[in-house]
Amino acid sequence: MSGAVTISGVPIAGTRRAPRDLTLLLMLPALAILVLLFLVPLVLFFVRTFMEFDGTAAEFISQAQDLLFSQSYMTALGTTNWIALIVTVTVLLIGYPIAYYLTTASGPGVSIVVLSIVLPYFTSIIVRTFSWMVLLGEHGLVNDLLRATGLIDQPLSLMYNRFGVLIGMSYVLLPYMVLTLYAAMRGIDPSLMRAAEGLGASGFYTFRRVYFPLSLHGVLSGALIVYILSIGFFITPALMGGQHDIMIAMLIDRALEVAVDWPSAALMSLTLLAVTLVLYAVYYRITDIRRVIGAR
């Protein structure tokens, strides 16, 4: 979703300042695909569903209120944001050391880590989710191993609950965090850390007062990307979650596939899109900070 804004947003901002640049024409095919296959169907979807609504505006608003304040929607909204938050924090805590390692280390270890980050990134989400199911199922690898070693008697419930959703989503979203952080950390001048240590700062003090503040915009960018992607997640929670782990995307799917209630689906989609766009706007501002603090 965010892709539409990036690609159509950047050249427009550019043409305002610079003289008309013919290389912008190179964007045309991408723009055409986005407009034809994404923007037009999206608008049509919203327009059609709302046009088909036969009732007064007041009736429409009250129905919308009923839906958006309904128990199921509110619960899904809470669940979605809670899961997104936990996933974001988890991915940040795991991803930060990995990104730091990638920016500072050298040698064959780096290639192995990059490969194990990037390869899954190019693999279908469904495949990866099923792999986790093989691992975490009641008779999955993890439970079998734990029972074989005698650590547990009964299989642990690692799946079809919140835990499974968090594991699956964190795994899928980790590369986004690592790659974003990596880009930010690459921009940090290593001589600053050397300066800090040369001037008497301990390693921890240097990290706290120099490295981390300079990587902060990467942390915020990465967190926002992961959060934005999380709130729209569907496959992983649908496959690995339990009956209490209904996220908004699943609710939309149900409205379309099960209830065939297009107006409700459209309304929920619209709210999700609005939230995403707001977060994206924040993200866009944060990436600008890079220039402000002189890290770029």
């Binding site: 700062a201 503040p213 890290a295």
Partner: protein, 377 residues
Amino acid sequence: MAADFAAPETSVPASEGALELRGLTKRYGDETVVNAIAVSIAPGEFFSLLGPSGSGKTTTLMMVAGFVHPDGGAILLDGQDIAFVPPQKRGFGMVFQNYAIFPHLNVFENIAFPLRARHWPKAMVADRVAWALEMVQLGRFADRYARQLSGGQQQRVALARAIVFHPSVVLMDEPLGALDKNLRYEMQVEIKEIQQRLGMTVLYVTHDQEEAMSMSDRIAIMNRGRIDQVGPPGVVYEQPVNPFVGRFLGEANLIEGTMTAGGGDVRLILPTGEALRAPRGNGHDTGPGLLFIRPERVDIAAGTHAAADPRLNTLAGKVRRCSFLGNILRYAVDVDGIAPITIDLQNAVGVSALAQDTPVTLRWPVADSLILPPDPP
């Protein structure tokens, strides 16, 4: 002034600032970047490591700073070996090549950084930073960020940050490399004044010989990982021990010939059979050799004059080129049998350039000539 600020705690007990390098060596693979160098720097001395890039001067400084582990030798601070003490425990002030100003901290916080890292109380930090800002004349800029400062101002911030905690030793790695010429001169004067006022030991790395000469008490000229010569600027400039040092410290004439000992002097026989003379003294008096003379020591006069004065070396030649360099006129004069001789003439009252191909006589005191061994192969 210094007495007003007693450091509450420092990582190393306050040192005198005597620095000694003993057989310091660093290898990267097969290459010996720093080769058993030995130098002793007195407290309060301004000592420069001067050399071309790749001569090992920066590696030496990084070993003294603690960022590079030596493969051999010792680094003594007031007699204590600190070769394996981590950088933050050495208590040196440091000024880096690209200033390394923290971009997310303003000028005040940048300068306060070494104090805060040492957990100084807030009030003392404020006092001391104000003092350091005063030292570098940046009082009005405390709230600015690096990106809002000119190169010279950033350089001052880096300097203030290095001296704010009163280190006895300050290390500087090509601190003026990025500044333009006028500003560089201004900063040289300022750094030298501050160093003398605070009585700190400075170990200064540069590839700019003018910079090294204008500020240093002593200079070590580094070449291929070794120190070729150590001495006060006047000595290394006037009496280089080899052609490399002679050339590196400025324009130099190195006239090739064959040496023969004769009387009190060493004679250098040119391919044309003419003889030049130099005082005997550094052991070289037979075989191929070079006669070293600085361009400003050579006098140039139009016309041909006989070699009358036995205290002068005399050569006849023809003006090849005269370059106008502002304060000096630089001649290149063709002399039969040897490479062109460079002569620098002060652009003083009444001096006018000689035309190309004018026959000229070159003269310089035998006493200022120096015999050097040829370059090693």
